[in-house]
């Protein structure tokens, strides 16, 4: 325990008292509590998203959002929210994260749909992309806790001195999440619930179950992705950028563009009226393969693989804005891949996914080989398919 945490004890105690008093009138809505310092022991202390009455619901003014293409995290579903103090909107930026005011809190809850007919304590969770059944009927924006299992909620908190990452892990009773600064490791089993729909092939039989360890990062590992400038060493949000947010969301009062909604709500200033950037939805097959693949690589890889990121040691640049094909990996030898090369010679060999190191590292789920290095312990099959198709469609070769 460092002094900062200990010093916060009094505040925590009063908070616990407060919570005890509140228990008598559990439904009384509490406003969001921004903690300017310290790390509250429970997620519920913040009153951002709370488990009550069989639902996980966002508080008033806590706005849920989605991204065009999300980071893959072992098939977990994600429920993201933003909250800002009144009257201090974030400033729009076309490329980087918005300039959020002090007091902003972002939450990201990682959860899985439960598998029907499995005992409550089962490790089984569903591998599916369908998020519609996760939400409680009749109350838009709230997760139905009889349908989903909550794993962790990560907070990014904008304080005076910068952003801080605070991880919380949900208890077995699913009543609250507790501070988990050193992370956690949770044994889970992915079950293919979509197999019944017949969209699987021989490689993915219907009965397949995949056991894996879900790893909750510790605070320093959070920074492993959220410090996108290795020199500046500052934690930054990754998702809430214009190109990721520029899409519709089904709010309680109807569908609307997220950027427009934030602007209308006073959460965003300086939103241009036209020419907003938009990355592709990687699963939307009506969009060009190139755009989907680049959006996927951007979200899953570019926090490290950019000219300023911690993996700039490798000279690989996987941002959607990258234009230098060699830097994008085309015909580029690896720099420090070790056994991660899988005995392949070049990062990307056009037309040859089976000869490309990039795909080999996506296929692996072994630490030391797999990419990204953390944040997943299973292979993202559909992501591998997408990047494989993209490489297969590339013209040219690498011969001198």
């Amino acid at each position: 325990m460092d002094s900062r945490v200990r010093g916060n004890g009094a505040a925590l105690k009063s908070l616990v008292l407060c919570a005890a008093l509140l228990a008598g009138c559990a439904r009384a809505p509490q406003p969001v509590h921004f903690f300017a310092e310290g790390k509250p022991a429970k997620l519920s202390d913040w009153h951002l998203v709370e488990a009550q009455g069989g639902k996980l619901a966002p508080n008033a003014d806590v706005v849920p959002y989605d991204l065009n293409t999300p980071l893959f995290s072992d098939y977990a579903h994600k429920f993201r929210t933003v909250w800002m103090p009144k009257g201090t909107p974030a400033k729009y930026d076309a490329e980087g994260p918005f300039d959020f005011p002090v007091g902003t809190v972002l939450t990201k809850t990682f959860y899985y749909p439960r598998v029907a007919n499995e005992a409550g304590a089962s490790k089984a969770v569903a591998r599916t992309y369908d998020q519609t059944p996760d939400f409680a009927a009749g109350s838009a924006g709230a997760l139905d806790l009889s349908k989903v299992r909550l794993i962790e909620t990560r907070l990014l908190v904008r304080r005076e001195q910068g952003w801080e990452a605070i991880p919380y892990v949900w208890n077995a009773a699913q009543t609250d999440a507790e501070l988990a600064r050193t992370g956690d490791a949770i044994a889970l089993e992915l079950v293919d619930t979509e197999a019944a729909k017949g969209d699987r092939d021989a490689a993915h039989p219907a009965s397949e179950r995949e056991a894996f360890t879900y790893v909750v990062p510790n605070e320093n590992q959070c920074a492993g992705c959220h410090v996108t400038n290795v020199k500046a060493k500052r934690i930054e949000p990754l998702g809430p950028r214009a190109r990721h947010l520029n899409r519709d969301y089904a709010y309680a009062d109807g569908k609307a563009n997220q950027l427009a909604h934030w602007s209308e709500k006073g959460y965003l200033s300086g939103l241009p009226t036209a020419d907003l950037p938009r990355d592709a939805d990687w699963r939307d097959t009506t969009q060009p393969l190139e755009a989907r693949a680049r959006a996927y690589l951007d979200v899953n890889c570019s926090q490290c693989h950019s000219p300023t990121g911690p993996a700039n040691t490798t000279a690989l640049d996987l941002r959607s804005a990258a234009t230098d094909l060699r830097r994008l990996g085309l015909c580029k030898p690896p720099v420090a891949a070790g056994r991660g090369t899988g005995d392949r010679l070049l990062d990307i060999v056009p037309g040859k996914p089976d000869e490309s190191i990039l795909l080999y590292r996506m296929l692996s789920n072994e630490p030391g080989v797999m990419m990204p290095e953390m944040g997943r312990n299973t292979t993202h099959r559909e992501g591998v398919d997408l990047i494989g198709q993209w490489i297969a469609a590339m013209p040219g070769n690498c011969d001198a």
Partner: protein
Amino acid sequence: MRKLAASLALCVLATGCGPGTPPPPSDAEAAFEKKLQEQFLDAKPGSVIDIPAGRHSLTRVLTLRASGVTVRGAGSDKTILSFKNQVSGPEGMLVYANDFTVEHLAIEDSKGDGLKINDGENITIRDVRVEWTAGPSKDNGAYGIYPVKCKNVLIEDSSSYAARDAGIYVGQSQDIVVRRNRAERNVAGIEIENSMRADVYENTATNNTGGILVFNMPDLTLHGEHTRVYKNKVVANNLGNFAAKGTAVASVPAGTGVLIMSNPKVEIFDNDIGDNRTANVIIASYFISNFADKKPSEGYDPYPKSIFIYDNRFSGGGDSPDGLDWKALKVSMFGLNGHFPDVLWDGYVDTKAMTNGQYPAEQRICIRNGDVEVLNVDGPHGFDKPKVGKEEYQCDLPKLAAVELKGKA
């Protein structure tokens, strides 16, 4: 698409019988790890993280992000951090910080690199052992001790065993001292890559595939130069190459003592170099590597220039080169019982930098080492006319300045 699906199926199969889920840690191990993780999270400038003697089983990389921190064990044979059951990493210890010292501990069996320090200034690594305990294996991590993009780096009295790439690997860094270390059973014992101003001295590199390597790779922002390799023992580096294909070191033949690749301003002197059975010293360009048939990146100089080798003590070696081509060449030129000269050069030259077939004086390969001869293997012409020479390499280059580290004795 079918091909992809098939490779995917293979992969699923492979992972099914792969490393599997490691056993969960005992309560005591879990409590120790949690406390240690908290110390790494809470560290501030001036913090000293003392790790007691003992073998500590850890499941997760130790990441440090605070500058001015010392991590200290009770000795590299006493405080052992074992990552055999690692589930998250892939490194053993990962540091993004300045003014960092790590000393007196061992890191064993990490899934990826043992100790990686990224983008730090004023780094001291002292009496640290990194080891993959099962010996050379394709499952081992790439680098043992690995500062990258660092400035002012001291690595001393440390050791690395059985790294699948380089045991002690300094990459894209500046102002470096590597001294009194031991590197054994790695693919590359000690490697200085794309780095500026490195002094490598009083180290022992033995039983690696290659003993000491000075490399420049394409695509990187820092093109290395100015490396002095002296007073080292580089002996019997004859271990079979177990690197993954595609890595730069995969093309290093077993039996390599000191290898300079594509790097300018390298000085090799006062070393004991012997019994390296391909050659005691190899001077090579990027063209001899396993990427010879691939397009190099723009702005990259693939030629070794300004190389000065003098006053080394050579013995043995060159008698059983790795690979059939090299063996055949050796036998045809020097007979069954003969051996290559101490220095092998691939013969690739940068004709654009030459006048009348000669480099300017300051860019030559110079050797002042008694009777030592050079075999130019004539790489550019498919090894057609290899040639032994001596007189044409007798020249001198201005000596490189010693590296001075700020604030270090």
